[in-house]
């Protein structure tokens, strides 16, 4: 579990304007709800997370405009492979 957190932290570029509101890690999946300045950053996050072989399928969905904070909210769904644990 800690290794998965470490991978997410390491793969998320320091300069990327992304914050996570909620993170759920199950045995075979990860779902993270986050906030970012624009869609491009969410897409970049997806590309960075997909570089880890243990994350077999990375999807960004539910990209919506955040009326309260500005920017976009999004959901990242990851299927965990054998090498992630």
């Amino acid at each position: 579990m800690l290794e998965i957190l470490r991978q997410i932290s390491a793969l998320t570029p320091a300069g990327l304007d992304v914050s996570f509101d909620e993170l759920t890690i199950e045995r075979q999946s990860i779902v993270a709800r986050g906030h970012t300045s624009d869609f491009v950053s969410a897409d970049q996050l997806k590309a960075e997370l997909a570089k880890f072989p243990g994350f077999q399928r990375v999807l960004v969905t539910d990209v919506k405009t955040d009326a309260r904070r500005g920017g976009k909210t999004f959901t990242v769904s990851i299927r965990i492979g054998e090498t992630a644990e």
Partner: protein, 187 residues
């Protein structure tokens, strides 16, 4: 045999030298075609089929070797886990988690609850499971707590981790966390 070839000899004797050479050439071409279609083509098809079968078997061999390596790795992990699980050891999971939380500098206020949960049915490795709920913790506290759990000598396994940001403080995000922890014994 000579009687059978006699008509052919008579026929060839009646032909000119040029016609005889032409007939020999046609015969050679027909003989070559016969050998090619009857022998070479089937051999080439057989060789191509054999090459395809070799490639298929090579792929299967590579896959089998990979599976064997994975099985050895899993067996090694299983042996390590079995060695860590003491037969008949009765881990007081809730007390242990309380101690580990204190070591991670999680206060009693932040430790909202540790509740026993219904474990899975496993006759060989009886399980004890507990649900931990934390509120208002820092990321550092959570990471320290998870590290102590995962490196505990009682071989605990963390499942279903859920982290929710409830706000920001000077030192970083304030987080609410819940997860379940399992410990195993050997029957």
């Amino acid at each position: 045999m000579n009687e059978l070839l006699a008509p052919l000899r008579r026929y060839l004797a009646g032909r000119s030298a040029r016609e005889r050479w032409l007939l020999v050439a046609v015969g050679c071409v027909l003989a070559f075609l016969l050998v090619y279609v009857g022998v070479i083509v089937p051999l080439q098809e057989g060789a191509a089929g054999a090459d395809q079968r070799v490639a298929q078997l090579e792929g299967e061999r590579t896959r089998a070797l990979r599976i064997a390596a994975e099985m050895r790795a899993i067996q090694g992990e299983l042996a390590a886990v079995e060695a860590a699980i003491q037969p008949g050891a009765q881990t007081n999971l809730i007390a242990l988690l309380s101690t580990l939380a204190a070591e991670a500098k999680i206060s009693q206020e932040q430790l909202e609850s540790i509740e026993p949960k219904q474990p899975s049915e496993n006759a060989k490795y009886p399980e004890t499971r507990a649900e931990v709920r934390l509120k208002g913790t820092s990321l550092e506290q959570i990471v320290t707590f998870l590290h102590r759990i995962e490196t505990s000598s009682s071989h605990l396994i963390v499942r279903s981790l859920k982290i929710r940001t409830r706000g920001e403080s000077d030192s970083g995000p304030v987080l609410d966390v819940s997860f379940s922890v399992s410990s195993f014994e050997r029957a």
